[in-house]
Amino acid sequence: MLAVFRKELLTYFTTSVGYIFMGVFLLISGILFTTGNIFSMNSDYASFLSGLIMIFLLVVPLLTMKIFSEEMKQKTDQLLMTAPQPTLMIVAGKFLAAVTLFFLTLLVTGLYPLLLSFHTKMDTAQILGTYIGFFLLGSSFISMGIYISSLTDSQAGAAILTFCLLIITWIIDFIGGFMPVSILAGVLFAFLLTALAAFWMFRATQNISAAALPVLTGVIIIAIIYLINKELYINLIGKTLSWFSLTNRFSSFPMGILKLDAIIYYLSFSGFFLFLTTQKIEKQRWS
């Protein structure tokens, strides 16, 4: 893992990718900081940081688009598969390199609150908490971008798809507010999830029996929950979207609250997408 990590990190600094990512991010954040805090004499730095996520969302595809798609295009992914390292370690090495570059970029923005602190009293702990949240959220975005990069050998395709999915994660919470809240809608939504799982299983195995397994399990669980407490289906769509929302969980960080469940969620989210990426790479071994 360390060798992959070193090689990837070095690549960011010996090619234009790392500099473009840092340059664009720091230029836009610099403009927003000077207009939002310096010229408006506003000491609320945590709000500035939370606004910066939108910019980060725009530049994440720059960072992740080539991580696997470039390997696939140049056929060097064959080397990865034959490397004497578990696939998970290779994925983790690439992820950590991208996250390290992101961390270094965030470190540079640490200069902003330092400048403000010469002229007003800053909420140091609150700002630190917001940085922790930003870092975890950014790492989740990166893990998603890495997974998408493993799906295609087109860098542009990976970048566009990553951007679209990140935008969806951004507004998923907002969309949830407009979803139907009735019990029937909740039950139908649960069936839809079950159908999606079955479809995915069928697509992976091309086997009807394998696809029937999630259907059977799903229907039994849905029925049991309905019989025990059907009220749980009220607003199920909205609650599910809100629960999975990355940005919803971030909202407590700029307020100055560090929540253990939010930290665990971001780590799980990153872990799950790294796992999916590993599965995708592994698939090439036996398909």
Partner: protein, 479 residues
């Protein structure tokens, strides 16, 4: 051979898909488990999202279930208030929180609304048994309005309001205080205390003894705020009878120079005596440099272990008084009246009785310190020793409750007043939680500094990155 290959692929694909589903389900369960653990850290400097000791103490003693309804559309809840409410729900198993969409639950909401009124989105309803209290969303913040009528949020009063509502719905008690009028007294409004008193769960009415003749039976406390004219003999007698029947009186006095013989006579019935003059403090630790170390304006010492002053000590709040007179115990005293000085000047102070004397040093006619400027008096039962009779608090510097020039209203003085009402109404567990300020100091920066910082952030940093990139990429190209 072909058959084997298909089975091999299907088995692997099936296993991979199943593993993914299991991992996803496992992670969701793992997260749900952590979600049920209310572990979080309040990183704000002013601890905006941490409950005060007063609230925690109240919740520890809850012996009945409380339901808190937060009226908000799902997904659109004001997050700051929601965080505070979740603190309540997480801190006591007796408290349950429910987010209610008022558009979908009009019946539930309407049963708590006053006749002809509606409850707005963002409001909080606290319910326990037959008692309920609605807290309007605007009351969860402290809001000031500019001259143009523009609202500005200065602080958050959510905890103050919710804890107060909790205390009310679980005790069902709202002590009634009567503010005496007819002698040019201050009103609570004039002292900006009306809202504070109501938030502390008191009901307020005015009392004109000349018209009513006697103190109403439902009075928990009678309050007299800096009267400029004396009581009549009848008023004094009525108040005396009220106190002898276990009543409670808060009285603040200022140096008026007028004849206050009936007021003094009332106090003397209970061993109390206000001595005219002004206290002059010389201990520089108790004076304010911002007031030019004016000896008439000082921070008094707080009584040890007393329900009226304990919270000031715990929160390191300094009370300030000015042009204070002295309160003393009379020479002849009844034994069952317990006199306790609450606020005292230091040993380096004195009471200047001759106001024509302008000396800055203690002279022969002055009373040596320490001088009590506020005292409490409790009548004890001769047989049981319990303090279940009359209760009086005298503050000999009435103007200290008002806003002071250059300093505004002194927080500790307000707390002293509320604590006094709590003690007088025998409601020492009552609540007085300060508003949590959301105000941020602006960045004090001049135009030159702003432009320098802008140049660093917008030009210098990106430029350094471009230069580094150019050098490295150029060198690699020409290796």
């Amino acid at each position: 051979m072909m058959q084997f290959k298909l089975n091999f692929k299907t088995r692997h694909a099936g296993m991979a898909a199943l593993t993914t589903i299991v991992v996803l389900a496992g992670l969701i369960l793992f997260n749900l488990l952590f979600q049920s653990i209310p572990a979080q850290w309040d990183m704000t400097r002013k601890k905006l999202f941490s409950l005060t000791d007063q609230t925690i103490s109240l919740m520890e003693n809850l012996d009945q279930d409380v339901m808190i309804y937060f009226l908000a559309k799902p997904g659109q809840e004001p997050v700051d208030i929601l965080e505070v409410l979740e603190q309540y729900a997480g801190s006591s198993s007796r408290i349950n929180l429910d987010i209610v969409d008022p558009d979908r639950n009009p019946t539930l909401v309407s049963q708590y609304a006053d006749d002809g009124e509606s409850i707005t989105n963002g409001s909080v309803i606290v319910v326990s048994g037959d008692y309920s209290r609605v807290i309007d969303r605007l009351d969860l913040y402290s809001i000031s309005y500019s001259q143009q009528g523009q609202p500005q949020v200065l602080g958050m009063t959510a905890e103050q309001r919710i804890t107060s509502a909790l205390a009310y719905v679980t005790s069902g008690r709202e002590p009634l205080i009567y503010i005496l009028e007819g002698h040019n007294e201050f009103t609570l409004d004039e002292l900006n205390l009306q809202d504070v008193v109501i938030k502390a769960n008191f009901s307020v009415r005015t009392l004109n003894l000349l018209k009513m003749g006697t103190v109403p039976e439902d009075a928990d406390v009678v309050v007299i705020l800096s009267p400029e004219r004396d009581l009549t003999e009848n008023e004094s007698a009525s108040l005396g009878n009220y106190l002898e029947n276990g009543g409670a009186l808060f009285i603040s006095r200022d140096l008026t120079g007028g004849d206050m013989r009936h007021m003094d006579a009332l106090l003397e019935r209970f061993n109390l005596m206000v001595v005219p003059g002004v206290v002059m403090e010389k201990d520089t630790n108790r004076l304010l440099p911002g007031m030019g170390n004016n000896p008439l304006f000082f921070s008094p010492r707080l009584a040890e272990e007393n329900p009226v002053t304990d919270s000031l000590k715990e929160n390191s709040l300094d009370a300030f008084v000015f042009t204070a007179m002295a309160v003393q115990e009379t020479a002849t005293k009844k034994r069952n009246l317990k006199f306790t000085p609450l606020l005292n000047s230091s040993e380096s102070s004195w009471l200047r009785r001759d106001l024509s004397n302008s000396s800055e040093f203690r002279t022969a006619g002055d009373l040596p310190g320490p001088i009590a400027v506020a005292t409490s008096l409790a009548e004890t039962n001769r047989e049981t020793g319990k303090e279940d009779g009359a209760r009086i608090i005298v503050l000999a510097s009435g103007q200290s409750l008002s806003a002071l020039p250059g300093l505004g209203q002194i927080k500790a003085n307000i707390e002293f007043f509320i604590n006094s009402l709590n003690w007088l109404s025998d409601l020492e567990e009552s609540i007085n939680i300060p508003s949590k300020s959301l105000f941020r100091l602006p960045v004090q920066i001049n135009a030159l500094q702003a432009w320098i910082y802008a140049a660093i952030c917008v030009l210098l940093i990106p430029l350094l990155i471009i230069i580094t990139a150019t050098v490295i990429l150029y060198r690699r190209k020409h290796l």
